[in-house]
């Protein structure tokens, strides 16, 4: 549902420059909101809507009697179109917080909505899904929580259909995933909502919807991947997710994404890649990883290959996601001689170095990953020099950013320690001058001097 419509929306009479300007404004507004911890405010998601969407987004306050009337009409009306219209009217009302409150406190309303969400008439199912969307926009936690019991039930019902791409079912699934993702972002989610979600069969359902293969629906997967991210980064009980096979499911999904990137270069794939990378990275840090059996761990070398294919894709289409990809690479390589060996045997050092000029954040992460490799000892450093690494390090020593230079110094220390010949080459390539530049910098001077000594005595 989502991707099919991408690119269709364009306000009338809007030039490309104007669109770009608006997008920059929206982006700035979102950044500001996030820093003020207001990003989950649903109002932000609607602010632009009146300008850009077609008409009819006026929120109306509906009273109890009206809501009941619309629900009854939707449930038992004789004509399908009439029933659909009743739901449209209800939805308009649900855009208003007062109507939302009235709705959830009205007995049987949620149950009726759930019944319509599983209707055997496609139009009703779709309109009911839109009502659910509106409810999930509520700023009021009581409203969002009222949706939670329905979620488990609906997922059970809908999971039985995951092999059939019947569009209303898919739409309802996406709406559910979105509603759940809103719920999981609430401030009180880690204490109240996430524990009950983890205690239900929702995690298994979610992971099932993320299994790669012919049954995977992209829009649905995006929503549930973000749900999983909000759960994992809250650190409530990630060990449980690991026992359900989250690592292997997400790992396979990563491979699938890399394959898709190779085939289509679709600019929408990063919408799914981002939450998948985040979940994998956070889950890898769990102590439980060591405790589970072979299949549950993430050891497959193909993950490294997939990650680099995605990094290449990000570099072209979405450079802001490079740090997240490199974060995963760090967590894969930090404690794993096997993954470090993969980096070497697949010749990935040079591609990694090509990312250095992107930004300071990216540089630090690249250098950190290289340190992960170098710190494993001489057998590893043998593959780092001779090679392009030294030249790149002479380049990063010219950066003004202290953290980049600092990490370069760490890497040089490891390289000189395990591969003394590299120190000589460093001298010959005017390495000492490169170091001198930072002799006065407080955070760097001790390390600079130490390296100067090492190089001179090599």
């Amino acid at each position: 549902m989502w991707l099919r419509r991408q690119g269709c929306l364009r306000p009338a009479g809007c030039g490309v420059e104007e669109l770009r300007r608006r997008r920059r404004e929206r982006e700035a507004a979102l950044r500001k909101a996030r820093r003020e911890q207001q990003l989950i405010s649903k109002r932000l998601l609607r602010d632009d809507a009146p300008e850009e969407g077609e008409g009819g987004c006026v929120a109306v306050i509906l009273g109890q009697a009206e809501i009941q009337q619309f629900l009854q009409l939707a449930q038992r009306g004789t004509e399908e179109k009439e029933r659909g219209r009743a739901l449209v009217s209800l939805r308009r009302g649900l855009q208003h917080p007062e109507t939302q409150q009235t709705f959830i406190w009205l007995e049987g309303s949620m149950r009726t909505l759930v019944g319509l969400l599983t209707s055997n008439q496609a139009l009703l199912q779709l309109e009911a899904a839109r009502c659910l969307h509106e409810l999930s926009h509520s700023e009021q936690s009581a409203v969002a929580e009222a949706c939670l019991p329905a979620t488990s039930y609906l997922l059970t019902y809908l999971s039985g259909h995951s092999s059939d791409f019947i569009s209303p079912h898919v739409t309802v699934l996406e709406a559910l995933g979105y509603a759940l993702s809103q719920l999981l972002q609430a401030k009180e989610a880690p204490e109240k909502i996430i524990p009950s979600v983890l205690g239900s069969t929702l995690p298994q359902h979610m992971l099932q919807l993320l299994q790669p293969g012919p049954k995977l629906n992209f829009g649905v997967a995006v929503e549930f991947a973000w749900c999983l991210h909000y759960i994992t980064c809250s650190q409530v009980n990630n060990a449980l997710l690991i026992t359900h096979g989250a690592l292997s499911t997400l790992g396979l999904l990563l491979l699938d994404l890399a394959g898709a990137v190779q085939r289509t270069e679709d600019a929408g794939l990063e919408l799914l890649a981002c939450p998948v990378l985040r979940c994998l990275s956070n889950l890898l840090t769990e102590a439980a990883v060591g405790a589970v059996g072979e299949q549950m761990q993430l050891r497959d070398e193909r993950v490294v290959a997939a990650l680099f294919i995605l990094l290449q894709f990000f570099l072209q289409k979405q450079p802001s996601l490079l740090p997240e990809g490199l974060w995963l690479l760090n967590n894969l390589t930090a404690n794993s001689p096997s993954f470090c060996t993969s980096l070497l045997s697949l010749d990935l050092i040079e591609p990694l170095l090509q990312l250095l000029p992107v930004s300071n954040v990216v540089s630090v992460l690249v250098l950190t990953v290289l340190c992960n490799v170098a710190e494993k000892g001489p057998a590893y450093c043998q593959h780092l020099w001779p090679g392009p690494l030294l030249c790149s390090l002479l380049g990063t020593l010219a950066f003004s950013d202290t953290e980049v230079v600092g990490q370069s110094l760490e890497l040089l220390q490891l390289l000189f320690l395990y591969r003394p010949e590299a120190a000589q080459a460093f001298l010959q390539q005017s390495g000492l001058q490169a170091l001198e530049r930072h002799e006065k910098e407080a955070q760097l001077q001790d390390r600079v001097h130490a390296l100067q000594q090492t190089a001179l005595h090599s």
């Binding site: 990003l39 038992r76 055997n120 890399a258 993954f339 490891l414």
Partner: protein
Amino acid sequence: MQLPPAVHARLAGGPGAAEPLPVERSPKAGAAPFRFTARQVRFPREHEFFEDGDVQRHLYLQDVLTQVAGAPERPRVPEFTCQVAGCCQVFDALEDYEHHYHTLHRNVCSFCKRAFPSGHLLDIHILEWHDSLFQILSERQNMYQCLVEGCTEKFKTSKDRKDHLVRRHLYPADFRFDKPKKNMSPATPRATVQVSAEALGAEGEQVEGDAMEVCSEPAGERHTAGRRVLFVSEYLLPSVLVKGHHEDLKAPRKEINTSDD
């Protein structure tokens, strides 16, 4: 960023981990004034590291939601009727027909004509309602299985199972799976059926149909009460609707039945 061809080849290859090179550390590594230690990093939800990705996600949502607020475009076709004999439902959109067919005609019990949303639920229904051995066995052991795939619990009675579904899987409290049809003729053998208390009580409203059991359309629709259903006609679907995902049509519980419900 240039990737060596080995990378693409490796992705296409089989699973496996690289045989690690020998690790050999010196105590001088990362020693003062140096400080490097290889370590994994985790970020909590509000960390600024996530800012860029979060902003991209919300930009996407903003775009999408303005579209959701609008009315959906639905391609229309000339009106046509459902091909299942006895079903007179008329459609003008293929999507609606597909949905109708799947929900009402696909997983149908050949004994009592009730339709179910999935093959899994149909199987459970047949076992519990039309298998005489089931009743005998259930006297001695827990036979009512939980409806949620992946949950292995079994129960002595359907009420116990329902309680479990409500408590453990957060199902709505008035959820039903075993309510008998109201228009069942008394002559139909029902000796094996568990009739739940709620079903006998006056429910007043004619609900649209529980999700776990699909009722036929309310009286106001075009169906007649005593419809005949011929499952053989499932094979005669217009080919335009038999897309890839219909290829796994199960062998229907075929029965040419000419008696009324």
